[in-house]
Amino acid sequence: MAILQLKNVSYAYKNNKNKKILNSVSTEFEKGVFYAILGTSGSGKTTLLSLLAGLDEPQYGEVKFTGEDIKVKGYRHHRKNQISLVFQNYNLIDYMTPLENLKLVNKRADKQILLDFGLDLTDIKRNVLQLSGGQQQRVAIARALVTDVPIILADEPTGNLDAETADDIIGVLKQSAHMQGKCVIVVTHSKHLANQADVVLELKNQKLLQLEKTMPTR
């Protein structure tokens, strides 16, 4: 069974209801698969991710988690227990250290995961704003991974990073899907990132189309 499912989802901006962003979109996402959703600027990629994350609700249709509409248990429940979000601009809490940012989502979070992600003991004790962009994104992904949630949603996670760091981050996301069995959904306009994904979808003309599909290499 699909872990996450869009069923006939339609969405238009509040202030311009005539301009639809999504029009009766239906698709399914499975565990252990790394998805990339491509689209041009303004095509509605971030809106789609917000609907999947329970940050917004569709005007029509349903977003389902393991077959149940996410609004049944509540959007906050969905965000807290079923998904993790990774943003392009990292979105760390700026008055906390990397480890404290991890403890926001899991009180038992350990520094080991940060060490595994390439940060050293000094970095761990610093304020997150004193870290480089790549380090901050690693912390953001570590924060997404220290929870037990089965889905990672990422919005342009490599948008602000250099090519080498971007590849590192893509590798981490891939590993999360293939090694930990998480469902990783990334929205991006980066063809390079999309090439690394197991499944590539494109948001075009208010529809979500699958471009290619290969089974994940485990």
Partner: protein, 462 residues
């Protein structure tokens, strides 16, 4: 991570923002605690004065029909009227006053520093003349109750005393007198009242049992009016000087005191029905003797109420504005926490806890700053209120000039001061009012967060 931990991290790590909030809350708390302490001090002062000036009345000449005795128009309130009133239930104390006119023997009077009247022979004849103001209990006298005079050494005159006096400290210093020394007086040959055969012509030795301080409320025209030259004696001595016994005595006026100011109307009603010649005598509520004091208390009440309301309203506005910036400036953090599944109420509670953490320190320290400035603010308000009170009392007199003697001083007597102190009770009020302002301000400034969906907040972030 718990909301309290997040709040603690924010307060301790965003030092400049926390310091700014500390200063604002500290200012608000200091102003509020000062306002509350001054308000309480005003209420206490009013209550004390109520007891002393509203729980008594005076029997005196009705000057419209009875100009009194002698060329000075001294009071002629008969002892029989006093006895009738004394017998009414509810009256607990009586203080009668009687003026004796004496010549001081081998004593100097305190001189006017800036006399309005030029020296002349008629004044020279009065250089030893003085009033000896007899009373049954000087502690109940209006001049002492109002604070025009205050006992600085020794004790008050009581009804058991005979041949005892209270003198002014400056008079004592001028004549090198100390407690228990004796002064000598003799019934004056210049007495304004008709001679009485029973008047003692002998020199009398009067023991000083107390000294008082105080100054004229208005500028004195003659030495006789100077508070420094006032001599207060016991009733037996003055009766002797004027040749009266207990039944033949006539008094300047008599004050009657009761325990409960609320009983005053009932008692006055009973007094009015007594067979006393009400065309020649009248009853005055003692509160009428303190028009400026009452007016200054009213003015004080008004000023402090306006100040307190002003503090609370301005504090709420300032805090709401600052908190609006505080919360709006954290839209990014709010969005992140929402995306992590933290509830809106949890986030807003974190902001409240942060303010409470800072408030604990600032409200606590306001106890000391309040101690330092509340009394000064209180004194300043008393001064303003007294000016308004004095002006109002003067207007009520219709331009009539009162004498500068100590007894007229009660009319223009205003509030000397209030004793402002800050206790745990005031701190409790500050916490209550401050807490309400914080809750109100955080609620107002958080309204837009509550209204928005997480995605809208996140889109504002980007």
């Amino acid at each position: 991570m718990s909301m309290i931990k997040r709040a603690w991290y924010y307060v301790t790590r965003k030092k400049s923002k926390s310091l700014l909030m500390f200063l604002i809350l500290f200012g608000i708390a200091t102003a509020t605690i000062s306002g509350i302490a001054i308000k309480k001090a005003t209420v206490d002062t009013r209550s004390k004065l109520n007891q002393s000036i509203n729980a008594s009345f005076t029997l005196e000449n009705n000057l419209q029909n009875n100009m009194g005795v002698g060329s000075r128009g001294l009071g002629n309130v008969p002892a029989s009227a006093v006895e009738q009133i004394k017998s009414i239930d509810g009256i607990t104390e009586v203080n009668a006053r009687m003026i004796g006119e004496v010549d001081l023997i081998d004593l100097q009077k305190v001189k006017l520093t800036n006399p309005r009247v030029q020296y002349n022979e008629s004044l020279e004849a009065y250089k030893n003349f003085s009033d000896l103001e007899g009373m049954t209990d000087s502690s109940l006298d209006n001049k002492f109750i109002s604070g025009v005079l205050s006992l600085s050494k020794g004790r008050h005159i009581t009804k058991e005393d005979t041949q005892k006096v209270l003198v002014h400290e400056e008079f004592a210093e001028l004549n090198d007198l100390k407690l228990h020394d004796k002064i000598y007086v003799q019934a004056s040959v210049l007495s304004s009242v008709p001679p009485n055969e029973a008047v003692t012509k002998e020199k009398m030795a009067l023991e000083i049992i107390g000294m008082f301080s105080g100054s004229n409320m208005d500028r004195a025209t003659t030495e006789h009016e100077l508070v420094e030259n006032a001599i207060i004696s016991d009733m037996q001595t003055v009766k002797l000087l004027r040749g009266y016994n207990d039944t033949s005595a006539i008094y300047q006026n008599v004050n009657f005191y009761l325990n409960d100011p609320k009983e005053l109307p009932t008692i006055l009603d009973k007094v009015g029905k007594l067979p006393i010649d009400w065309s020649n005598y009248q009853i005055t509520k003692s509160s009428n003797d303190y028009p400026a004091l009452t007016a200054s208390l009213d003015s004080m009440d008004e000023l402090i109420n306006k100040m307190l309301i002003g503090i609370i309203v301005i504090s709420a506005i300032i805090l709401s504005l600052v908190l609006a910036f505080w919360v709006n400036g954290r839209i990014h953090e709010t969005g992140v926490l929402l995306s992590l599944g933290v509830s809106k109420i949890n986030i807003i509670t974190q902001y409240v806890v942060e303010i409470v953490i800072i408030a604990v320190v600032s409200f606590g320290l306001s106890y000391f700053s309040g101690q330092a400035i509340a009394q000064k603010i209180g004194d300043s308000i008393v001064q303003q209120a007294s000016e308004v009170g004095a002006m109002s009392a003067q207007q009520d007199l219709g331009g009539m000039q009162l004498g500068a003697d100590p007894n007229s001083g009660t009319f223009t007597k205003t509030l000397d001061g209030i004793d402002v102190s800050i206790t745990l009770a005031e701190m409790g009020y500050v916490w209550f009012i401050g807490g309400l302002i914080i809750l109100l301000s955080v609620s107002i400034s958080s309204i837009f967060i509550i209204r928005l969906k997480p995605k809208e907040i996140l889109s504002k972030m980007s």
